[in-house]
């Protein structure tokens, strides 16, 4: 293999090697900790946990639970995204609306997540509550970021568009959307995994049937710590995949511009 080809492969290879090293390190630390504690009931080893993890797929109801949780999380995220984006656009055009809305957003951001979860459990059924909870956590973060991105578009560009008589719809597609896209992708990447975590946490507290959260609380109540850890890995993986999807969308957009 030529030197040039080796050099071009170096970066992609490192992008795989570094995360593998990180995972290996985490597993090693976990294994050492479990060995030192020597209480497999409370501190299961990575080997035991992974054995259970790989057998989960064969369990009844596994895929139903996983896809239900993914569905609830995605629904929560999408509702948050659409509402946040729409309101950010509207409020950027009408400053008084933003001023009225700002305290509402501040309250939502500041409210303790647990309090939000407990209130939603009283108001809604076990299946819908996690969706609302995810929305109440994700929406204020996304709204603030979208609003800042939209109002942060350089006024000089709107003047340029005015002078060059660029029609409104082309200003939106040619100037505004490209200018805010970066911020939209960045906040979506961080918020999507947060939404997944919050929805699953809400499923635990709401005892949402056929969900990742419900399986976690079942394992916990049955003192099956290795099983609980295995379901935690499931939650981490689906959250990671959601984040990866947003990253890939961003890369596709960057390649197209």
């Amino acid at each position: 293999m030529s030197k040039k080809k080796l050099k071009s492969l170096k970066k992609p290879l490192l992008n795989v090697i570094y995360p593998c090293i990180a995972v290996a390190l985490m597993l090693a630390i976990w294994a050492i900790f479990a060995a030192v504690k020597n209480k497999p009931f409370l501190y299961p080893s990575p080997a035991e946990t992974l054995k259970i993890f790989f057998s989960l797929g064969a369990e009844d109801g596994f895929f139903k639970a996983v896809f239900s949780s993914i569905g609830r999380s995605l629904l929560s995220f999408l509702i948050s995204f659409i509402c946040a984006f729409t309101l950010a656009v509207v409020n950027s055009l009408f400053e008084p609306l933003h001023k009225i809305f700002t305290p509402v957003v501040s309250v939502l951001r500041s409210a303790p997540t647990m309090a939000v979860i407990l209130l939603c459990m009283l108001w809604l059924d076990y299946s819908s509550a996690p969706v609302l909870i995810g929305f109440l956590v994700a929406f204020p973060i996304m709204y603030q970021s979208f609003y800042t991105a939209i109002t942060g578009v350089d006024k000089g560009l709107t003047e340029m568009a005015e002078i060059y008589k660029i029609p409104v719809y082309r200003r939106i597609t040619g100037i505004y959307i490209p200018c805010i896209a970066g911020a939209v992708f960045d906040v979506s990447q961080s918020t999507v995994s947060l939404t997944f975590k919050v929805v699953i946490a809400a499923e635990v507290l709401c005892y949402t049937k056929n969900s990742v959260g419900f399986n976690m609380i079942k394992a916990n109540l049955g003192a099956e710590i290795a099983l609980l850890a295995a379901w935690t890995i499931v939650a981490v993986i689906i959250s990671f995949i959601a984040e990866l999807f947003v990253i890939l969308l961003k890369k596709a957009w960057e390649a197209a511009r």
């Binding site: 350089d154 000089g156 560009l157 003047e159 340029m160 005015e162 002078i163 060059y164 008589k165 660029i166 029609p167 082309r170 040619g174 100037i175 490209p178 200018c179 896209a181 970066g182 511009r257």
Partner: protein
Amino acid sequence: MNDIVIDNFTFGYPDKPLFKNFSFDVKAGKINVILGASGVGKTTLLNAITGLINYKGKISGVPDKISYIFQNDRLIDAVSVYKNLDLVLKNDYKDKKTRRKLIDETLETLEISDVGKRLPTEISGGQAQRVQIARAFLYSSDLMIIDEPFKGLDVALKTRLINKFLDLWKIDGRTIIMVTHDVYEALLMGDYVSIISGNPVECVYKTEIAQDKSSRRLTDPYLTKFRDEIIEKII
């Protein structure tokens, strides 16, 4: 193309107007240079001509389509240079291949044919200014306004850009209003050179430089005469 006539232009605070009954002519098909110190109101005058600000008075003869080369590049950082230029062409040319051809030809004339796919953040200040020049010439306007476009560039690059600009201008001969505080740019490029100063602003000097631009040299006695007059007026 008609001359642009500014008549009794008034703008500013009621008790302290920046412009009060200011009158000025811009000759059609010529490069009209307006010199003035920083902060005198040159950009305000340009904003009035382009309709970006409300004012009292009358400005007639302004064509419908205007190109503008700004002091700072005002390029869309999030999209490629090519897409920045394509955006202003879409009204006039529906065919993508035609637009592509025009953009490629103009970038080649300005010696920046390799920047088309890059983002504005990935090119130098001099290249960004050339992209602005490309955008201004690609847009089929009858009036071009340029606001200190060569500010901050080194002498060698500035000279090359001025030459490239004049090459492009010769092709369609549109009316140009150029604002600068650089006397040498004014002498090399202007058909008409004016100086505005004072508060409220007045036109304190106006002259025609009839010499062909391609033969102008700063050391030429014909130009040094104007240089001395201008410097005397500015001081």
